[in-house]
């Protein structure tokens, strides 16, 4: 952490700076991969002179000498539990899912499961086939946790094991969770998943210290769910589901900056909402979700194309919708 206290290397950026600039940094960070800064002890001999901008844990952009940046382990702890509970200051994370672009490729699910060491039958991101009424067309509906601003799951938790952070993300401390399942019954969106048995994860990952931001490792008798990948945000990357989507259907970003990215392009959140008629699912429940949807208008793929690469089991899930 010494790197950040070094005033020469530190340059504060106002969060209200032009979003394009941060977009640039974001895309630069996508290339550099998972990184961490080891130290900056003042030994100038090793400095390369090349600077890189990075997003710090407290949400500031800093310029760091490249020689101080090292590849980090996939699930290393990046923030203390106290910081994990607080969230990244000045941020308000949102997701926008363009239903016109989804064809049930299931890449978001696969990447999410891989990144969070989930078994194949645990899907934090689920893709539903929704048919609203008899005469309307069905459409594919990817559904992560909605990270509600008025979260019914957080309200009912008796031990504050699930909490709402200042940056809008709802996380779980599975060392505190007592497994009462009240949040499962409280959440109207079925976003929560209970670890009914001992999770089958590799020993080395199991022995890691739990981080609420990575939700790894899972623990028997506790709850887990989509975590909006704040660990990825901290290193300036978009969540796994966003980067995995082959059609760029999922956008993720900061409401305060009015910018969201699907990994390829950075767009204004407000423009997306106004141009494409963005909305939130089941608004009448008053949960104030942080996940927005763009209606399936002028779709790129026919609904049927979503059945192409599915296994028999996966096809059987939708048998009630398409006969």
């Amino acid at each position: 952490m010494k790197a950040f206290s070094n005033k020469k290397n530190k340059r504060r950026y106002s969060p209200r700076r032009k979003f394009l600039k941060s977009g640039l940094v974001l895309s630069a960070a996508f290339i550099s991969g998972s990184t961490s800064i080891s130290s900056c002890s003042g030994d100038n001999s090793t400095k390369s002179g090349k600077k890189t901008r990075l997003l710090t844990q407290d949400g500031n952009l800093v310029e760091v000498d490249e020689s101080n940046i090292h590849e980090s382990h996939k699930h290393c702890i990046k923030a203390s539990l106290k910081e994990e509970r607080k969230g990244i200051p000045g941020r308000k994370f949102v997701m926008v899912i363009d239903l016109a672009k989804c064809r049930n490729a299931r890449k978001c699910i696969e990447k999410c499961q891989e990144a969070h060491n989930l078994p194949p039958d645990q899907e934090w991101m689920k893709v539903y086939l929704i048919k609203d009424s008899q005469h309307t067309e069905p459409y594919w509906f990817p559904k992560p946790c909605f990270h509600c601003d008025n979260p019914p799951c957080v309200k009912v938790c008796p031990v504050d094991a699930t909490f709402k952070r200042k940056d809008g993300i709802v996380l779980i401390d599975n060392h505190r969770c007592i497994g009462c399942k009240f949040c499962l019954t409280g959440c109207p969106y079925s976003a929560r998943i209970y670890n009914w048995k001992e999770p089958e994860i590799p020993e080395d990952i199991k022995n890691q210290q739990y981080s609420a931001e990575t939700s790894v490792p899972a623990m028997i008798g506790t709850v887990s769910k989509c975590d909006f990948c704040p660990d990825m945000c901290r290193i300036g990357k978009v969540p796994h589901c966003v980067s995995a989507c082959p059609n760029g259907a999922i956008y993720y970003g900061d409401l305060n900056e009015d910018a969201v990215s699907n990994g390829n392009e950075v767009v204004r959140f407000s423009e997306l909402m106004s141009d494409k008629g963005g909305y939130r699912y089941a608004e009448e429940l008053g949960t104030e979700p942080c996940v927005y949807y763009l209606p399936p208008k002028e779709r790129i793929f026919p609904v049927k194309s979503g059945f192409k690469n599915l296994s028999e089991e996966e096809k059987a899930r939708y048998k009630n919708i398409i006969k």
Binding site: I130, P158, R176, G179, F182, L184, S190, Y194, N320
Partner: protein, 450 residues
């Protein structure tokens, strides 16, 4: 316990109530113990293997255990309300009923919370409920509520027992074991039947009874809020609080009738527990069945008529005979109409009939709790697009059933054990009644002649 014949009436009663356990009693005790052991074995399996051994999954995350929890807590709260009302209104026929009612309060309040503990995935972290208690959560309200209530229930049972302990201590003609005598002496708290002490005792009995009634009403409302405060069809209802209160009292009266019937048979108390008691309690049952039926009709009629989409999905499940149709009819028609018919028609109004109807009421109210908990959880906002059977429909496993039945056996066993130690009917009051006839020994709450 042997008594001589100085006071035949009380001796008769003491001999009847506290006689040595017979062969039959041992068989029953052993049988109940076996069921409890089987339940404990299932519990050990659940703790070691995790909740995967239950039928609960992500959609139906609560099942039998929560249904049992609200059922037994309901019984407990109801018993406190009933015994409080019987005491405060100086109901003349209350005497043989009141001790059983007080015992029901305590025993159900001990077993009920056990079921919610079974529903907790990490029992090893139970202390988090205190250490990290978050006052906004209805579960924490329940933690405080149940512990407060348990203390109140124990106080009222004990206050009611002090006179009997003193009687068992003082009357040397009642021959009991040394240890037993010493225990009675200790528990009698040097009560010497002086007018001052008696006055204090009865004032406190009245006070705690009066306090426990609103507490029990509030607590059964809190119990309903575990469901009523969520965004779920069939749960998120404004009448859930009073609905639960009346459902609890309804099941409580039925349980008291069944307990009275069993003790009457087991201890040959036909002289003390008479047809009058069954008819009076039967009439209470009738009144409550009408009240409860009224709430039930209101609840389902309003969501059926307005036919909001999510509610309609739930009702479709409840009305479907391949799913919950029969359970719905049994709990909402048979369980409400049958007691009305049996108690209202004079030639059906018999002790055994009322007892049988009470058993049916108990079963129907348990099923009612089940169809409050499970179908709602099977009705999610997003369609359940899953091929795993357990994720779509809940069906309890043998582990859940044996723990459930083990809990019921535990209640019976506790009743049996307690009835060996303390008289299941108030001795002092029975004696007073014999001596003074119809004149009430207990001071009136409101003396209008003054």
């Amino acid at each position: 316990m042997i008594a001589d014949n100085k006071n035949p009436e009380i001796n008769n009663l003491v001999v009847k109530l506290l006689k040595k356990t017979g062969k039959k009693g041992y068989y029953w005790g052993f049988f109940l113990l076996l069921i409890v052991i089987a339940g404990t074995y299932a519990l050990v399996i659940q703790i070691t293997k995790g909740h995967i051994v239950t039928g609960m999954r992500d959609n139906v995350a609560w099942g039998l255990y929560i249904a049992n929890f609200i059922f037994f807590m309901g019984l407990s709260y109801a018993s406190a309300i009933i015994s409080g009302l019987l005491r405060l209104f100086r109901v003349s026929w209350r005497r043989p009923v009141i001790r059983i009612t007080d015992l029901m309060t305590i025993i159900s309040a001990i077993i009920g919370p056990l079921y919610i503990l079974l529903c907790i995935g990490r029992i090893d972290r139970l202390h988090h409920l205190i250490v990290y208690a978050r006052i906004q959560s209805p579960i924490i309200w329940d933690v405080f509520a149940i512990s407060t209530f348990l203390i109140g229930g124990i106080i009222i049972l004990y206050l009611g027992l002090i006179e009997d302990f003193a009687l068992l201590r003082d009357n040397h003609f009642i021959k009991a074991g040394k240890l037993r005598k010493r225990l009675y002496k200790l528990l009698a708290l040097r009560y010497n039947k002086s007018p001052e002490q008696t006055k204090i005792l009865y004032n406190n009995l009245d006070l705690i009874s009066a306090l426990l009634i609103p507490v029990a009403i509030i607590l059964s409302t809190i119990l309903s809020w575990v469901f009523g405060l969520t965004l779920r069809p069939g749960w998120n209802s404004t009448i859930f609080g009073p609905y639960f209160v009346f459902a609890s009292i309804y099941s409580g009266i039925a349980a008291i009738i069944v307990a009275l019937w069993i003790f009457r048979k087991a201890y040959h108390l036909e002289k003390y527990i008479t047809k009058v008691h069954f008819i009076k309690l039967g009439i209470l049952l009738l009144v409550l069945s009408i009240l409860y039926g009224y709430f039930t009709f209101n609840e389902y009629f309003s969501i059926w008529y307005s036919s909001e989409k999510w509610d309609t999905k739930l009702l479709a499940k409840l009305f479907d005979f391949s799913q919950y149709g029969w359970l719905f009819i049994f709990s909402n028609y048979v369980g409400i109409l049958l007691p009305i018919i049996v108690v209202a028609v004079p030639w059906l109004r018999r002790i055994n009939n009322i007892a049988v109807v009470s058993v049916i009421v108990i079963i129907s109210l348990w099923i009612k709790r089940y169809i409050i908990v499970v179908p709602t959880l099977e009705t999610t906002l997003f369609p359940i697009q899953d091929t795993r059977e357990a994720w779509i429909n809940y069906s309890p496993t043998w582990v859940e059933w044996s723990i459930t039945i083990g809990g019921v056996a535990m209640i019976c066993l506790l009743f049996m054990l307690v009835s060996r130690l303390i008289p299941i009917m108030p001795l002092k009051e029975a004696l007073d009644k014999e001596k003074i006839g119809n004149k009430n020994i207990v001071p009136e709450l409101w003396d209008f002649n003054k």
